[in-house]
Symmetry: C2
Subunit: 219 residues, 2 copies
């Protein structure tokens, strides 16, 4: 059941779409398929109010789609669902199962940890996180109560961390360049992709912007 890590997983953090909590799962899966067609390189299954059964069903579908697209598939919080759907990784926030305990259940999988501050970023790296989710960089409608940590915190964490950073929180195409310039390795986006008029075109725009930035920077 344990899947090897994709060799190029760091590069695949680039355009990282996160599902929303909409009730209509057919529409949600259509949006996932569209953003993958547009060039999303990772999908995170995040459903905060979902029972295990429907979440498992969603995960199996997203695993099939991401495998076909060559994209990463990450599950938020629920290690059991990640194991049963052969996810590439698990993403945990500060109120989810701690990284060290996730590692006990999923030694081979990628583990991403959300960090709002430099202290949280240092702790996550020390605890064995494979990548960081840093934000909210900008104020966001998805997580109205989230602490807005800002671009300066992102820059500071990027300067001190040795693991890849996915930036999250209010990132749209207009703001993405300053996020990448601050040191993010990936752009994590919920509504600006999943709820865009055309999720496919939105993903294409992020993917194209990312490519341009990546080509321009020294390697």
């Amino acid at each position: 059941m344990i899947s090897e890590r994709p060799a190029d997983w760091k590069a695949k953090l680039a355009v990282y779409a996160i599902t929303d909590d909409r009730e209509d799962t057919t529409s949600l899966l259509a949006a996932v398929e569209a953003v993958l067609a547009g060039g999303a390189t990772a999908i995170q299954l995040r459903r905060k109010r979902e029972d295990g059964g429907p979440m498992l069903a969603l995960g199996l579908e997203i695993r099939r789609m991401t495998r076909e697209a060559g994209a990463l598939y990450i599950v938020n919080d629920r290690v059991d669902i990640a194991l049963l759907t052969e996810a590439d990784g698990i993403h945990v926030g500060q109120t989810d199962i701690p990284c060290t305990r996730v590692r006990e259940l999923a030694p081979e999988k990628l583990i991403g940890v959300s960090a709002r501050t430099i202290a949280e970023a240092i702790a996550a790296e020390r605890d064995g996180a494979d990548y960081l989710g840093v934000g909210a960089v900008f104020p966001t409608a998805t997580k109205a109560d989230a602490v807005h940590s800002g671009i300066d915190t992102l820059r500071a964490i990027a300067a001190t961390s040795s693991i890849p950073i996915v930036a999250i929180g209010g990132i749209d195409v207009a703001r993405a360049p300053q996020v990448l310039a601050a040191g993010a390795d990936g752009l994590a986006v919920v509504s600006a992709m999943m709820s865009a008029p055309s999720p496919r075109q939105a993903a294409e725009a992020f993917a194209s912007l990312y490519r341009d930035f990546d080509n321009a920077r020294p390697h």
Copy 2:
């Protein structure tokens, strides 16, 4: 990490208390400790709206308390939390992870499955459930939208199933005797124990009633 099944697990389904969703977890753990002191033989950790972190913390506390009391500790839906807290079992409803998939992750643990109908009971037993949670036997405030399946369904399932049955839904001390007479092996109770004026006395009343019934029936 895998724990052996307690040899007397069937007998320990007798007085089966289920946690509620109250925000005050200190009060919740005090109620768990009180019902164990009163003679509850099983505790199910059920938190439908909880993130993994606080649920893990609750589970570790309840594991410690139940171990000390010699009671079963069961986790609702979340197999990951069950594994990390060394639970004796996992309980799944019809919208949780299916029994057969739970078994993949937790081959040694008890698996309970909720059944509202004879068809669901037959399917659960076929899928390898160790026990059934049957109900809601009576209308209940805890799950206002739950289908009320009634005492006749309980009796019919008890007659056709070869695995133990825990009855759930609106069971109080006054109604418990007819539930046991209908063939239930255990009494699952949320508010009538956890929210009783004295959770300890409530558990004592259920435990005493169960003992009287058990002593009176042919073995």
